[in-house]
Subunit: 457 residues, 2 copies
């Protein structure tokens, strides 16, 4: 990565451990990491001044970059009979249409633009749940991991770190072979998946800015007897292991019918759950499922704007959190890329569900967006403005029409409950300035990149 | 109002009746109104070019301007015991703290800044549900309507039209006298309210940009025997009549206990419902309540971001809509001022509730934001880009990171489901350009006005 050497940033206000808003915070950075954090009432000479409230870098734990091409294009035009309204499953057909068309070049262009959008929103690390492994008919590319490598290249060009969650995807449904667009997702069996994933991991063994983790797409896509192979691969590399879980009731019904247990119980029985595991969505859980996730210290990644968009429902996030599962956040289908919106949606959807306020404080939501999120992506040393941490500094305006009027001692409340991606005024990622005043310092006009990469498809 | 004389705007894309996106639309304006709409492939000389997708002006049907001072300041810090999480009712105490402090000057300053924020979000007409009538102890000001007049002045300075919903607020709860901050809300009885409201109406009888309507605060605040007076006042002036309805379950319980019927039934029995009436929230309705509202053609104003914030719950919007109640939108407590967010929240909250997509199409949501909203505020000739309508033109960028990648023929889908207030690039209201590129052309730095007016309190 391009680095900047020793430098310093002076924050007008910053959110610093153990969770307080301090004014006049000087952050010393050597290349990619924070070396010291001290108080300074005024900016010293040569320090770069960061306005507003500076937060640690935000981690977008669950991304399917290519879904961005669907934004604004999948909303039904309902008719009197209810036809045309669409469902998760008709949405998936539209998503497959895009998946079918991508090649390494168009995937690279699109991912770079989408990661550029993320950077402008203050995201400094992305977890890409990646399963577009092979050519459209399932034939491996000459370079078997070329589709993952374009994601890594896209992330570096956009200036954020990436955790590639190399996804095992073997069946088109429980007991059903892959078909159509799914052909390119499959490696045949988990052993072959592991062999390919080994190559990807080996290629990035020395990279500090890239983590290669594993993913089980879901109990729909990986048969029980194949799960142990994926789990062992993750254990051997101390890598994060992610899995889609119970986003839709149909997954639960299919799993119960085939195996007599819930998806959560099936994953538990096969050793998938645990402190390095992140379950994504976890919307339709029974009490036993909450207990299994929390009891194994499994992290849960909520993707509230996607769960709203796809009519998934409101999951038991408060129960999971109280029982001990760390919560993290992802923009998933990229109907919206705005972790502030995801964070408050977590709280607000729980308010709608319970008719009570105050399930999480703004600092707790911010922790989900930053420290906990990075940990779920295998970056334990990120997400805090503290010595030894990755030098990610995300500054949020407190003078926009949205954020003006904050109680400065509780400015985090304003940022989390009223801030938006559009209020991110400066982003330093891995020690490098990457965005300023809504402008991406490397990519230039990200809107134009999004338009052209989506039009190409 | 300041007017610009005859002029023309050329829209790159515009949403025109009967609900289609057209490219190259030339809108001729004489002073405040649209005189003609025609197609023109390229911008003629002297026409002002409007980029992106141009929509009709948006109507914010339910506003309490002073609540903006609470943004980011009422979120609890929950403790292990659940204390500190807060509720609608503890939030109301914080709101009363602000209500207590306002005087005509600070109210004017704050409202001007808040209306400035609305204009930047594409709102060209606001319905202000106004009950801060008198001095803090209830003593009328020398000019009895000075607090309403500062709202009118604020709206004119900010460049939007206003419907002052002069609110009758007589009791502090069913059978309870006004107390504390509520003292300033009360006129004593409905006759005295009507006398004062008459003066306000008279003062603006010749103003085209101001409507004076009536409001019943709620069944909590107006006893049944006083309702007929407010209704008659509204009928006599053909004015809109608005009423808060069943936002919280406690209102229903109190009403049932006191009168043996639901708030909806009570309002129906006393003639409050009807085609010129707008019920705000309507969250906790039974099937009978839905039938009464729809059967009387009562409009329902949803305020989804407030209903999320205050943990009100998800109301039966889809049932109301199907049964025939027009739906409109308001930002109410101003936790957020973004009608795009309100519109998609209506659809997305219904998706969460039903686990089905596609309850309203994007054009239907846009109609709620514009044409239906204006009608609920007594501006029947606004909310459409058509000859004879008010010349309100709100242009939304389609090249921001949020909105890039639209299918141009369905650009309304992108605007409604992914656009934000920050994507509003130009606003023409009542024939005058009032905002451009996020800059308010009359007020200048609206963020600074918000900060100073809130700090003053």
């Amino acid at each position: 990565m391009t680095t900047t050497g020793a430098t310093a940033y002076w924050c007008e206000l910053a959110w610093v451990p153990p969770g307080e808003v301090a004014s006049g915070v000087l952050v010393h950075v050597d290349d990619t990491h924070i070396t010291a954090v001290e108080r300074a009432a005024t900016p010293p000479p040569r320090a770069t001044r960061l306005p507003g409230l500076t937060l640690p870098g935000l981690a977008n734990v669950h991304s399917h970059a290519f879904h961005r091409a669907l934004r604004g294009r999948t909303h039904g035009v309902p008719t009197a009979t209810g036809a045309g309204r669409g469902s998760f499953w008709t949405w998936r057909e539209r998503m497959y249409d895009v998946a079918r068309r991508l090649d390494p070049d168009t995937y690279h262009q699109l991912a770079r633009a989408v990661y550029g959008e993320m950077v402008l929103a203050g995201i400094t690390c992305v977890g890409e749940f990646h399963y577009l492994h092979h050519g459209p008919d399932g034939t491996p590319y000459d370079e078997p991991n070329v589709m993952a490598e374009v994601l890594v290249a896209a992330a570096r060009e956009a200036g954020l770190r990436i955790t590639v969650l190399d996804t095992c995807y073997l069946t088109g449904g429980i007991g059903a072979p892959l078909s159509g667009a799914q052909m390119r997702f499959g490696d045949g069996d988990a052993e072959k998946w592991a062999t390919r994933a080994d190559q990807l991991r080996g290629a990035h063994a020395k990279d500090h800015d890239v983590v290669v983790g594993a993913a089980v797409h879901s109990v729909r896509a990986v048969p029980p007897h194949e799960l142990a192979t994926v789990v062992s691969w993750g254990h051997a590399s101390h890598a994060p292991l992610h899995v889609h879980l119970s986003e839709q009731r149909r997954e639960n019904a299919d799993c119960e019918a085939a195996y007599g247990v819930s998806p959560t119980a099936l994953l538990f029985e096969h050793g998938v759950l645990g402190p390095r595991t992140t379950a994504v969505h976890a919307t339709h859980l029974d009490e036993g499922g909450v207990g299994l996730l929390a009891g194994t210290e499994t992290t849960v990644c909520l993707c509230p704007t996607t769960e709203r968009d796809l009519a998934d429902g409101i999951g038991p996030a408060s129960s999971l959190s109280r029982a001990g599962s760390p919560l993290v956040l992802g923009s998933d289908s990229h109907a919206v890329i705005d972790l502030f919106e995801e964070a408050r949606a977590l709280e607000l959807d729980e308010r709608l569900h319970t008719e009570e306020r105050g399930h999480w404080s703004a600092p707790e939501l911010l922790t989900a967006m930053s420290e906990s999120g990075h940990r779920a992506l295998g970056f334990a040393d990120a997400g805090l403005i503290a010595p030894g941490g990755w030098a990610d500094l995300v500054s949020v305006r407190l003078d926009s029409v949205r954020t003006a009027g904050a109680d400065l001692g509780r400015a985090v409340d304003m940022a989390v409950f009223a801030g938006t991606a559009a209020d991110v005024v400066s982003v330093v990622a891995s020690g490098c300035p990457v965005a300023s005043n809504g402008h991406h310092l490397r990519l230039g006009d990200v809107g134009a990149l999004l338009t052209s990469s989506i039009q190409t498809l």
